[in-house]
Subunit: 140 residues, 2 copies
């Protein structure tokens, strides 16, 4: 497969594939002239990378999970840790979601007058509610 086919079948832009190759996340099996040639297995690897990203692993972490052979070497322990992290996130997001729904429905003239809202504010201010950089990206 040449890169354009991988682009077509993975949905990722070529720039991302080159970037992933540079980072050691995927590898081309060789070149035809200058052009990269990929094995079919790269698609599976890309799915795995997407999965890792969705689970919240960084590209570096994901890279560390691939053996030099390209096959995944995933420690079950890491998976459980990440699952626990996700549990934490889920709890926080659930609290946040409920808080937002309440605030939207709340009859208090200003949100600042609503005790529930103030409680949520207090928690966030105290850092009890995790700092997130990005959650559900509302892509166009």
């Amino acid at each position: 497969m040449d890169i354009s086919e991988v682009v077509r079948r993975s949905g990722l832009p070529a720039s991302t594939l080159r970037f992933y190759e540079q980072k050691g996340l995927i590898a081309s099996v060789g070149r035809r002239g200058l052009h990269r040639v990929f094995a079919a297995g790269v698609l599976e690897q890309l799915s795995l990378i997407a999965l890792g990203r969705a689970a919240g692993f960084s590209l570096n972490e994901i890279a560390a999970m691939f053996g030099a052979d390209g096959r995944p070497r995933i420690e079950r322990q890491r998976l459980l840790e990440k699952a626990d992290e996700l549990d934490q996130s889920i709890k926080q997001l659930t609290a946040m979601r409920d808080g937002l729904r309440h605030a939207a429905a709340c009859s208090a003239p200003s949100h600042l007058e609503c005790p529930k809202f103030r409680r949520l504010m207090g928690l966030a201010g105290a850092g009890v509610i995790g700092e997130r950089r990005n959650g559900a990206s509302g892509k166009k």
Copy 2:
């Protein structure tokens, strides 16, 4: 209050307070010499900002929620939208968490042999599972 007191009572570094002021998220009531002087209300505002951040709003979005007076002008509609986004996130994270737990427990020799794992991979590869930049930050 001078900036050091806000630092002490909010837990945020002074650089962040200056940055927030520059972005128009907070305002000092004046200066004593060069030194900023803050009103007590700034602490409440900072909590509100923290809350907004935790809910997944960007600083710019949060800035837009404050009237020129400094009081929040929050549209209930926005809150409901964000709550729906969070619901989406929660569903995805829950699926991911369960998938990770399964993969960790799964008896298949390689994760690639596990049908559940492969299904999750497929979903992630197809972009069905949202792209996240950061979830539960495992801070030190």
